[in-house]
């Protein structure tokens, strides 16, 4: 498909900061060629950092340690609550402490392959290189990683790799890493080097003379709108999985910071790349507000099945005879069985449920059965391995997984797309840097387990602090004041929008629109997409958008704590993003990474990638609420890891 009714095609986008030459020395050479800011001048430069998760928290702390003045913002009541806190599994690093053949090159190789050849080699190599420094840094901060009896660090293995390179702190690795970054940040706040603004939400980007120079924020307690200025702006505002309404993201996670920047000119890359995790606790009814992930490790011992006959779905699991059960993963993928990659397990679950063979409320679930494992290993051994997960499952569902099989269903978990950035992590707006899940840079079309924490901390501790100096070396930039025309305009955009939300006074709640958007996205822009479905979805989203702006009801005032007003702004942006995601998915007529395109499959129904046509990152330019987005392609070149086909049969 070429440019169409839905989009136009523009000039390719080129990463001008990308070094060439041997991949092993690219980062070293970029650091050497980057301009520096001498320590005495750093205190004259201010950097705004939006978000305090692994990327934003570590960046704010590190920039302040280096001597820059930092202003940090988060919507939560404390920087410690950012959603990185919920990451369970672990963090990858190429330490090769197991002596099992790991290396920087192997982590690089696995990550490029895991991303299904849709990520930049230069970025991924750098990520693998700094991974080792992350572990050193976190240990020095006192992060209590799991250890062996000799006192050295323990490792576990994770999906998609053949080495043990994942460092972990029980099932709470994200929490412990975030607390490390948070404590470093609080130290800088205490020293007066970081001005921390909790319960503040960025609602607009301020661009002066073509450079990102500040943000418009709303104090979520008083409703006061202020304009904040700096020499550079860093967005570390996380992913956009909540466009699906139900996801494993925290309720407050939103796309507003990056979407506002996109509307002001920053390209948004690969928005349709989302990761869907196969082992989540299914919905229990229409009240469902979020989904909870359970560690993928459960698939090591649990067997996935549904009844062969849809008529059996209403029966209790125990009454379904062995021969009437379909262990469909073991049947379709005999060599990998229940351990097929995330995307394959997720899609297979949806397929059997679409056939009417799903179990539990609404038929949206499959069994994950530990009966065989309990028989083989004994209940004690199963308890030792998975006790905390079983407990969590029972708390949420009220069912005992030792007695009845667990029910699981896929849920949106992570978004690989985000604002386009160059090798320096700078967006297409000079002075606007984007780090962590908010950018698109390192995971391609699918992210490996235990790589999100690695990327967030790599960007925040080691990459951004080294690249931003190249930009800041030209500063301090001319002072900006509240009376400058672009500032007045940005502020007015925010105030007008809030006034508009409050004036509609319709008959539908914000949540009802969010739920409806989520259902459209899940149905048509989830695990499996088709031209017909996506075209339909775009129409539905456009209609929903019109309805939102005429029928939404936002209670209360602007000048107070108003949680529905906060949500209204986020949902309005999610609706626009949802449309772009569908357009991006429509244009990418290939199955790739976590995405299955119905029209692009092998004769036996497996994903078929089209490297000849789609070996590029799709970076979209905003052209007005009713205009067509313009596609700018960034060609991907693979000099080291040559594209190959995955097979799990």
């Amino acid at each position: 498909m070429t440019a169409s009714d839905f989009w136009a095609e523009g000039e390719p986008v080129v990463d001008k900061a990308a070094p060439d030459g041997p991949v092993e020395t690219r980062w070293e050479r970029r650091k050497f060629s980057a301009k520096l800011v001498n320590p005495a001048n750093r205190r004259k430069l201010t950097v705004i950092v939006v978000g305090t998760g692994l990327a934003g928290g570590s960046a704010a702390a590190t920039l302040a340690e280096a001597g820059y003045k930092v202003k940090s913002y988060c919507y939560q009541d404390s920087p410690r609550r950012a959603h990185s806190i919920a990451a369970q599994g672990g963090i990858n690093a190429a330490k090769n402490y197991r002596n099992d053949g790991d290396s920087v090159y192997r982590l690089f190789y696995d990550t490029v392959k895991g991303g299904d050849f849709r990520a930049r080699e230069s970025n991924v190599y750098r990520l693998a290189q700094v991974s080792v420094n992350i572990i050193d840094q976190c240990v020095a901060q006192g992060v209590p990683f799991a250890r062996e009896y000799g006192g050295l660090l323990d490792n576990r293995s994770f999906g998609g790799t053949q080495v043990s390179r994942t460092f972990y702190a029980r099932g709470q690795t994200g929490q412990q890493l975030l607390l490390g970054a948070y404590q470093a940040l609080e130290r800088q706040i205490g020293l007066g080097n970081v001005e921390m603004n909790t319960r503040h939400e960025m609602l607009e980007l301020i661009i002066v003379d073509g450079k990102a120079r500040g943000i418009v924020v709303r104090d979520m307690i008083t409703g006061e709108i202020t304009t904040e200025f700096a020499d550079a702006v860093v967005l570390a505002s996380g992913g956009y999985g909540n466009v699906f309404f139900l996801s494993t993201n925290a309720k407050g996670c939103n796309v507003t910071a990056t979407w506002r920047a996109h509307r002001k000119g920053a390209l948004f890359a690969n928005p349709c790349y989302t990761q869907i995790h196969p082992t989540c606790i299914p919905e229990s009814g229409s009240h469902q507000s979020k989904l909870t992930l359970m560690s993928e490790s459960l698939r090591n011992d649990g067997r996935v099945w549904v009844p062969k006959d849809a008529k059996d779905c209403q029966k209790p699991a125990g009454e379904i005879a062995e021969e009437d059960r379909d262990y469909y993963l073991e049947r379709i993928y005999p060599s990998f069985g229940n351990l097929v990659p995330r995307d394959i397990a997720s899609r297979a679950a949806k397929n059997v449920c679409d056939e009417g063979r799903g179990v539990g409320p609404g038929g949206l679930g499959v069994y994950l059965d530990f009966a065989d494992a309990i028989k083989r290993l004994g209940r004690k051994a199963v308890e030792a391995k998975y006790g905390n997960l079983f407990e969590m499952y029972e708390r949420i569902t009220g069912e005992d997984p030792y007695e009845t099989p667990m029910r699981i269903y896929p849920a949106v978990h992570y978004t690989m797309g985000g604002l386009w950035v160059d090798y320096d992590l700078q967006s297409t707006i000079p002075g606007l840097f984007v780090i962590g899940e908010a950018n698109f840079s390192d995971h391609g079309a699918n992210r490996l387990g235990a790589s999100a924490l690695m990327q967030g901390l790599a960007d925040g501790y080691f990459v951004l602090p080294n690249t931003i100096s190249n930009y800041l070396a030209a500063g301090p930039f001319p002072a900006v004041s509240a009376g400058d025309a672009p500032v007045v305009e940005a502020r007015k955009q925010v105030e007008d929008r809030i006034a508009k939300f409050l004036s509609i006074d319709g008959d539908r709640t914000v949540d009802s629109f969010h739920r409806e958007l989520g259902q459209i996205m899940w149905e048509y822009c989830g695990m499996e997409r088709s031209e017909e479905g996506l075209t339909k979805a775009i129409g539905l989203i456009r209609a929903l958008k019109e309805e939102f702006w005429t029928r939404v009801k936002v209670p209360g005032k602007g000048e107070e704590l108003n949680q529905n007003l906060e949500k209204a702004g986020r949902v309005a942006d999610f609706i626009e993003l949802g449309e772009l995601m569908c357009i991006d998915a429509l244009h990418r007529r290939e199955s790739c990474g976590g995405h299955f395109r119905a029209e692009s499959q092998t004769p036996d129904g497996e994903a078929l990638r089209h490297d000849d046509e789609f070996s590029y990152a799709a970076a979209w330019e905003y052209f007005g609420a009713d205009g067509k987005p313009v596609l700018h392609k960034e060609d991907l070149n693979f000099e080291y890891v040559h594209p190959s086909t995955r097979s799990y049969k």
Binding site: S58, A61, Q76, D77, S78, P79, R80, R81, H83, I85, N133, I135, D136, Q137, C138, V139, A140, Q141, G142, P144, R147, G151, L152, L153, A169, R170, Q175, Q176, Y182, Q183, A184, E186, R187, I189, G190, M196, T198, A250, K251, G252, G285, H287, Q288, S289, K290, T292, L293, I396, T397, G398, F462, T509, D511, S512, K553, P555, E560, L561, Q563, N564
Partner: protein, 247 residues
């Protein structure tokens, strides 16, 4: 299930508050407590009433944002469980459930069930860290940490900073919160150089932020969603005595 909730409504920090009763009908026993409030809020909005403001975020028991006193107990009746992980099946049809904000001198109410917990961050700022600027770290294996110390440090570090301990304490003390951080960092070899100054500075910050003193009432640990034990307060006191005696 049909239930009634009596909820603390307070328009702003200086406004007077009161308990207001609402009927919630047809709620699923599988709904979480916060989902029950969501459902109630949807009705309130459509009826033209002000929905109930409450803090929440991850809804999986780890971010520490949710904070409701339910029937007089911080985080409600289920042991070692945050409000967001409490489900309606723990209640009975026809129950009348009281819902209040954290109440402590150091946590002023902002609106309804939302309180200001920034004083907890102030305690961390005073010393709840190990000074290790980015880039200065030696190899991670340079200093082995005995497994039992690492495990004990981890247990203390699982504190989610929700403030339930403060809400439950008759003195409004944050001692359990502070003690958990002192234990986490004090159990690691990396935390030794700042061990003495840390405990003195954090306790000072705790007093300055308006938290009460600890009288070993033990209410904190009974409501702690992560089961942080009282013994850590003993450890803090011991660290404090040693630190002060060196001054």
């Amino acid at each position: 299930m049909d239930i009634k909730v009596r909820v603390w409504r307070q328009a702003g920090p200086s406004a007077a508050g009161k308990m207001v009763t609402y009927d919630v009908k047809g709620i699923s026993p599988d709904a979480s407590f916060l989902e029950m409030i969501d459902v109630l809020n949807e009705t309130l909005i459509l009826n033209g009433d002000d929905p109930i403001a409450f803090d929440h975020d991850c809804r999986e028991g780890i971010c520490g944002m949710c904070s409701m006193v339910i029937n007089g107990v911080a985080h409600g009746p289920e042991k070692a469980t945050t409000t967001c992980q409490l489900h309606m099946r723990k209640f009975k049809d026809g129950d009348v459930i009281d819902v209040e904000p954290w109440r402590a001198a150091a946590f002023p109410v902002i609106k309804d069930l939302v309180v200001d917990r920034t004083p907890l961050d102030k305690i961390i700022q005073a010393g709840g860290y190990i000074t290790a600027p980015t880039g200065t770290a030696p190899d991670a294996h340079a200093t082995p940490v005995p497994k039992k110390d690492a495990d004990a440090a981890f247990e203390a570090a699982t504190c989610i900073g929700c403030g339930a301990c403060v809400a439950a304490c008759p003195n409004g003390s944050s001692m359990l919160f502070t003690a958990a951080k002192i234990a986490h960092l004090g159990l690691m070899p990396q935390g030794q150089p700042e061990r003495d100054s840390r405990v003195i500075d954090m306790l000072q910050a705790q007093d300055d932020a308006g938290f009460g003193g600890c009288t070993n009432a033990g209410e904190c640990t009974t409501v702690c969603p992560k089961g942080i034990p009282m013994s850590l307060i003993g450890r803090l006191n011991s660290d404090y005595r040693k630190a002060i005696s060196k001054r």
